[in-house]
């Protein structure tokens, strides 16, 4: 059967005032089964790499922290690490600890956000409400350190802009206790639920071979048995000196991805606690006068995977080239491997399982291959996903 992939009929245009991001998935179906998927991105390309070439080295962190609101600690950190590598700058130890703490708090709130949305997609509204409630104290901590809930603007070339107030440390340690407790509760609730096992196991499998071919990173790779984590493989900040584990699962399905994220959240709590306890005294930045000619790479394990930055300098005060690659750029194309052959009711959660920004999935249209007309909208898919959960739930009663 020849699949027609020309302009389909869309329920919503590529730019819509209710959606914060533009991405478009076109699923081709044969009855209930997905036979092909096409992704279109870049409806909102901001030209950040080009803008970066017009800014001075110390202005770029503010730009790249705006690549993504959720990963607003990872991008600037990857960038400053690239510049520090090319200029051979040694960063004070206290700054490395502060960077570790902020980045792990970011991972906790990002993973909780994903758990909540995953619950929403399969009709577990309680999980959604819990997740939002338990994420809030994490954002409060980030606000206490940096002054912002997101877009922290705290790293700079040579260290950090703001120090953690020493008086805040015991309070933060205390605040970590309820966060850890709630996360353990949430993890157990999800891992012990027989309905979730039935609903998510064997769904949207990304095999290890495909994970390597599509070069995926982060929880998407680790849930498919690819044991990569920049924090351990090429240690930055203070990760090399702290005690924590890389979480992997072999199954590659949606359940495995949920397990990886939940257990990683607990590891992140462990890292934050250790870093707070060991926080050394001293300055949080060194003065950087000039950036010499050269090139450097910086990569950071963001919540969704490896964030990679490459910077080249010609000795002036601006980068001549700055490349930024976010993890979703390699994770999203793997839908070609994980969605084809899936049932319609499982597509929603399969797409959500790599944790693209959730608004991405709101742009789904399902096209009939023979008549090229729109069959399902986002709401239909959400309803079908929930019906599938309900069907399994009834089986367990």
């Amino acid at each position: 059967m020849k699949v027609a992939m020309q302009k389909p009929v869309l329920p919503v245009g590529p730019v819509h005032p209710l959606q914060e991001e533009m991405e478009y998935f076109q699923l081709t179906v044969d009855g209930e089964i997905v036979t092909d998927i096409d992704v279109r991105i870049s409806y909102n390309h901001r030209g950040i790499e080009q803008i970066s070439e017009t800014l001075q080295f110390d202005q770029v962190p503010f730009l790249v922290s705006r690549i993504c609101g959720i990963c607003s600690a990872s991008h600037p950190l990857a960038y400053v690490q690239a510049v520090e590598e090319l200029a051979q700058i040694t960063v004070p130890e206290r700054a490395l600890y502060v960077r570790t703490i902020i980045n792990e708090l970011e991972r906790i709130h990002s993973h909780i956000l994903w758990v909540g949305l995953a619950g929403h997609f399969i009709g577990y509204e309680t999980v959604f409400m819990w997740a939002w409630k338990y994420r809030e104290p994490v954002l409060d901590l980030l606000e206490a350190i940096t002054g912002n809930r997101n877009n922290y603007g705290n790293v700079k070339v040579g260290g950090c802009r703001e120090d953690i107030d020493p008086e805040l440390v015991p309070e933060m340690l205390k605040a970590m206790d309820p966060i850890a407790q709630k996360m353990e509760m949430l993890t157990k609730a999800v891992l012990d639920d027989p309905i979730l096992h039935a609903r998510l196991k064997g769904v949207g499998i990304l095999s290890k071979t495909d994970a390597v071919r599509y070069a995926v990173t982060g929880p998407t790779a680790r849930a498919s048995g690819v044991p990569i984590d920049v924090r351990r493989d090429d240690p930055y900040a203070m990760y090399g000196d702290l005690d924590w584990n890389v979480i992997t699962q072999d199954e590659g399905d949606v359940f495995a991805k949920a397990v990886v994220r939940l257990l990683e959240t607990l590891e992140a709590v462990k890292i934050v606690r250790q870093a707070l306890r060991q926080l050394p005294d001293g300055p949080v930045a060194v003065e950087v006068r000039e950036i010499p000619p050269g090139q450097g790479v910086g990569h950071v394990e963001a919540p969704r995977g490896e964030t990679f930055h490459y910077v080249r300098s010609d000795g002036s005060n601006r980068p001549v080239r700055h490349k930024a690659r976010a993890p979703s750029y390699v994770n999203v194309p793997s839908f070609k491997a994980s969605c084809i052959g899936q049932k319609m009711s499982d597509v929603m959660i399969t797409l959500a399982a790599v944790d693209p920004c959730y608004s991405c999935t709101e742009r789904i249209a399902v096209v009939d291959t023979r008549h090229r007309k729109v069959l399902y909208t986002y709401e239909d898919l959400l309803r079908r996903s929930r019906q599938e959960t309900e069907r399994i739930r009834r089986r367990f009663r």
Partner: protein, 146 residues
């Protein structure tokens, strides 16, 4: 594999390279001409089993340069392959997507923004630019889209 063995593997590429630098234990910068890109990248991906990270295209005024970034995670090493495309009027290089589907998007992006032609790419269509963007105008080239 240890660091020496990785270095040994990379050195077997020497005939295809014009330069090999290792500024630190975990960073390699290899340089080569455009015609060797396919063989070098295929060797890194299939024989060394390095992970493809991304590629960066740079407009160097008298040539185009593509830096292919690979990561060898077992040793936390980043291997950068700098390839030079000397023909400024028709910058062309072999596509690595046929054996490395993870490169599909970035090659389409470089095609859109810098006008690089990737030979053998299964689907060299617009990814970044809008469908009604004029043909032959490449916004990332020096001098902008004008």
């Amino acid at each position: 594999m240890n660091d020496q063995e990785l270095r040994g593997q990379i050195e077997t590429l020497k005939d295809r390279l014009t330069g090999l630098e290792q500024p630190s234990r975990t960073r390699y910068y290899l340089t080569c001409e455009a015609e060797h890109v396919y063989a070098v990248c295929r060797f890194l991906f299939e024989d060394v089993q390095a992970r493809f990270v991304i590629a960066t295209v740079i407009d160097n005024d008298d040539n185009y340069e593509i830096v292919y970034h690979f990561a060898f995670d077992e040793l936390g090493t980043v291997i950068n392959v700098q390839a030079f495309l000397r023909d400024r009027d028709h910058p062309t290089v072999a596509s690595i997507t046929p054996f490395l589907p993870g490169a599909e998007w970035i090659e389409r992006e470089m095609h859109d923004l810098m006008g690089i032609h990737f030979e053998g790419h299964p689907r060299l269509e617009r990814l970044i630019l809008a469908d009604d963007w004029p043909e032959g105008v490449y916004p990332l080239r020096k001098g902008g889209a004008s």
